[in-house]
Amino acid sequence: MISPTDYKTISDYITYGYEQEESIASYLNNIIEDLNTLYSYMSSNLITYGNSFDNSYIGTFYAEINNIYNDMYLNKITNPKDLLNLVYSMQQHITRYYGDVNSFLEDNSIKVYQIFADLSYDVGYEIDASNIET
């Protein structure tokens, strides 16, 4: 069975990884907001572009940033499948070899981060507040 130390280490890295996903998305979102501001500026200042001197180059970039942002948001933040699989596997492992996850955490004085607790909740293992870092 997994050692308490390894459990804590892995749960922390899952948290750090998830935070990185959020950071990646936040910078992409900054770009989207900047482009929205630019579009607003253009329209409010009656800047128009003709057929050839068009906005397709900005538009293409904007569309692609939106694409990868949405991909990040859907697959890495709201539904981070890969991370959830690992969390689920780890909690299942505990259940199988030890029993109740919260008992495991409590008995070994492990406190997990809130992000990990949230991911655990999403896969059906709710972690008591007493086992979460404050």
Partner: protein, 783 residues
């Protein structure tokens, strides 16, 4: 302008029927509430003996009214001093104006205090909190009630007009024997040379004389006057059909005695000769106390009231300068933008009608400079046009059946449509196919600099008219008879927007169609600047996103290794596969697939969208249909992060870039806004701490501008090219006049950090040993 009638009070002399009548006259004009008429008990002395007398007779009573019911809760921002209210007081030999002092009524009197708002606001609305620093104050006073009321009458007339129409008269060549005014006069000349065109009014100026002051013989059809000559007479004011709005003279006593009907001081002469506002000093303001002409006009053009314009262009409070007139006046200029020359055809609300002779005058005496369009002297009209749209230019060049004529003066690239070619046309046509020309025309037109554009015929005589015509749909050329050519030649002119045609014709004809300036109310440079800044920000954010992605991969690699190195087999079996999936899904290949398209799109944006700036940056190069990334980065003084290239698996040379185009590894910079903490004049220095941790217990660098200036800069201005220009912070620190500007720390090599690493940074301002709050943020080194 962010105030209304509800923010205005009018101060009058109690028990003075004339003063009350004027107050009620103003009340009626501005629809003020009765509670906004504030009586004060004061003498009729125009200049009181000292501050103590002024405080008793004027200041304390106004302050009391402002801080008592009902006004204390009514957000007063504007104070108008009425008839027979004292206009100033002596402080030594200086005469401190009531206007200047009451502006600063919330703070204790101290002579000649720097104005917090001086040249700072201009286009920002005045808001209630600004009254902590200054009120907007004006004075309506005159020798007689009728003259004072006439100021209000003329103000009403002005506000019923759509825009001001009279000329701007500026005399920068005064005080020739006093070198202390040299900087001030240079600023006026700068305004005349670079800014005065913005107002779409005729600008008159004097000529420099080496041995004496210059003067205008007389003002005719004037709306504004800026000058600096000694006392005058009413004969200076000639005939006018225009509203005389603002008269300012730097003479040391120009507003000393506005109530003296025999005065030869300028302000009295101005209001008695139909000016509705005037400003000047009651005693010597010195050169550094004079109004800033550029700020004054810019504020008006930004829609601020004349009272705000006065405030923002006034160097000192509690000083000698005063403002006579209604501070709530707003004024519009003839066109809604920095364009105006001639206009008629499109019949917009802003465009005056011009006769052919007036248009001809516009081009008379034009010297040939760097742009010249030639045409044959065929006797029939010539049609020349330029297309600012890159791809259309490109396509034009592919119309190969026409005769080409290459260059003229190494500038023009043109194509000739002769009479019988398949290119059509019945006359000699010349297309400008050099984008630079069109861009220059566009810009020059926006700035109404036609001086370097002309059309000559083959005999090299200047007998050709030129004008521009704009269409939102098709290129529409007009000949000088007003015929619009938007059908016959459309097959060659393409359907597109934002085109400009230049049309010329030999000989005299009637012009009935010209450009409508209101269609060009935003300059090209401004557009490009905004867009390129967004490009640069996007480039940096993309680099940061990539760095975070790389960090994510490192975390998942460590996570995978943790599981691989576990000794327990059962857990390894359960966890290895999902952790391996996580790692594999953040691989460099996945990352490349994730980011590469957006990076390439970003580079394409640069290559194709900023070509119009090319020629101004590289005047000796031919305008291409697109530019290289290198050219773009040089043009804009940008760099890109190595991380953008790393993801693509490229080096800078693969993209034909040079090392100078890439941020040096470890370079970082920090930019923030200079904040005012005191509300008073002060000189600040700055500190930055960079740390590994958010608690700042492990600090990498502590930087202090008061001990080491290396790397510290303050924003000086934003150039016409849209680039923010910085200057080094001086040893003495940064004075408050830079409030709102950017402060930048640009790391020297000795202060580089680890590329891709995250740090914590905190910044604070200080005055001497007084420290202000830290501003804390993270610093991701994206270089």
């Amino acid at each position: 302008m962010a105030f209304t009638k509800d923010n205005i009070i009018f101060v009058y002399r109690d028990l003075d029927s004339d003063s009350l009548e004027l107050a009620q006259y103003y009340q009626s004009f501005r629809d003020l509430d009765s509670s906004h008429l504030v009586p004060i008990t004061c003498s009729t002395t125009e200049v009181l003996a000292d501050y103590s007398a002024f405080n008793t007779e004027v200041e304390s009573q106004i302050l009391s009214a402002l801080t008592s019911a009902p006004l204390f809760s009514e957000n007063i921002m504007v104070i108008v001093l009425g008839l027979n209210v004292p206009g100033g007081f002596y402080d030594g030999t200086d005469v401190i104006s009531s206007v200047s002092r009451i502006m600063k009524i919330k703070t204790a009197y101290s002579k000649k205090r720097e104005n917090f708002f001086y040249i700072q606001k201009m286009s920002d609305d005045f808001v209630l909190s600004d009254t902590d620093y200054s009120y907007i104050v004006g004075r309506i006073d005159a020798p007689t009630l009728s003259l004072a009321k006439s100021i209000i009458d003329k103000t009403r007339n002005l506000e019923n007009k759509k825009y001001i129409t009279g000329s701007i008269f500026v005399n920068p060549y005064f005080a020739s024997s006093d070198s202390s005014y040299d900087d001030y006069k240079n600023n006026i000349v700068y305004f005349l040379t670079n800014k005065s065109y913005l107002y779409n009014l005729t600008v008159n100026t004097t000529q420099y004389k080496s041995s004496s002051d210059s003067v205008f013989p007389q003002l005719i059809n004037d709306s504004f006057y800026f000058g600096g000559i000694n006392k005058g007479s009413s004969s200076f004011f000639g005939n006018t059909d225009s509203t005389r709005l603002f008269f300012y003279d730097t003479n040391t006593t120009s507003t000393f005695d506005i109530r003296n009907s025999s005065s030869l001081n300028w302000s009295y002469l101005a209001i008695s000769n139909d000016y509705i506002c005037t400003s000047g000093s009651m005693s010597d303001a010195s050169a550094n106390g004079c109004l800033n002409i550029q700020t004054f006009f810019e504020s008006l053009r930004s829609g601020q009231t004349i009272g705000e314009a006065f405030l923002y262009s006034l160097p000192y409070h509690n000083w000698t300068m005063t403002f006579i007139g209604d501070p709530a006046i707003t004024v519009s200029f003839p066109a809604n933008g920095p364009v105006q020359s001639f206009c008629s055809g499109l019949k917009c609300d802003y465009c005056p009608e011009y006769t052919p002779s007036e248009i001809q005058l516009l081009f008379s005496g034009i010297e040939l400079n760097n742009v010249c369009i030639t045409g044959s002297d065929s006797g029939s009209f010539q049609f020349l046009y330029s297309d600012i749209e890159i791809n259309d230019i490109h396509r034009l060049e592919q119309v190969s059946s026409c005769k080409w004529e290459k260059t003229y003066n190494n500038v023009i690239h043109r194509k000739r449509w002769s009479t019988n070619t398949t290119c059509g046309g019945t006359s000699d046509f010349y297309e400008i196919t050099d984008l630079y020309i069109s861009l220059e025309i566009y810009k020059k037109y926006s700035n109404i600099y036609f001086a370097d554009i002309t059309i000559k015929d083959s005999s090299n005589t200047l007998d050709t008219y030129v004008y521009l015509y704009y269409s939102s749909n098709n290129i529409n050329g007009c000949d000088l008879s007003g015929n619009i050519y938007n059908n016959s030649y459309n097959s060659y002119l393409y359907n597109a927007t934002n085109k400009i045609a230049i049309v010329g014709k030999n000989g005299s004809s009637t012009i009935t169609h010209t450009i409508c300036p209101s269609l060009f109310d935003k300059t090209y440079v401004g557009k490009e600047n905004t867009e390129s800044n967004t490009w640069n920000d996007s480039s940096i954010n993309l680099a940061k996103s990539i760095i975070e992605y790389d960090l994510k991969r490192e975390i998942y690699y460590t996570l995978l290794n943790t599981i691989v190195n576990m000794t327990d087999v059962s857990s390894k079996i359960d966890l290895l596969h999902p952790s391996n999936t996580i790692y594999n899904n953040s691989s460099t290949d996945i990352e490349k697939a994730f980011f590469s398209k957006s990076i390439n799109n970003l580079f394409d944006w640069a290559r194709y969208r900023f070509v119009l700036d090319y020629k101004s940056t590289f005047p000796n190069k031919r305008q291409p249909s697109f530019i290289t990334l290198y050219d773009f980065l040089i043009m804009k003084n940008y760099k890109i992060s190595q991380y953008l290239l790393n993801v693509l698996g490229l080096t800078y040379s693969d993209l034909d870039l040079e090392p100078e185009n890439i941020y040096k590894e470890g370079y970082w910079e920090y930019i923030t806004t200079f904040i005012d903490y005191t509300g008073d004049y002060a000189t600040y220095n700055f500190e930055i701490d960079v740390a590994y941790d958010s608690a700042f217990s492990d600090i990498v660098y502590s930087l202090d501008s008061s001990t080491d200036l290396n790397g510290w800069y303050v924003e000086n201005d934003i150039g016409a090219d849209g680039i923010v220009r910085y200057i080094e912070i001086p040893n003495s620190g940064i004075p408050t006049k830079y409030i709102g500007k950017r402060i930048k720390y640009s790391s020297p090599v000795s202060k580089y950090l680890t590329s891709g690493a995250l740090y914590y940074i905190r910044f604070r301002q200080k005055i001497g040993s007084t420290y202000y709050d830290y501003i804390t943020s993270t610093l991701l080194v994206f270089s």
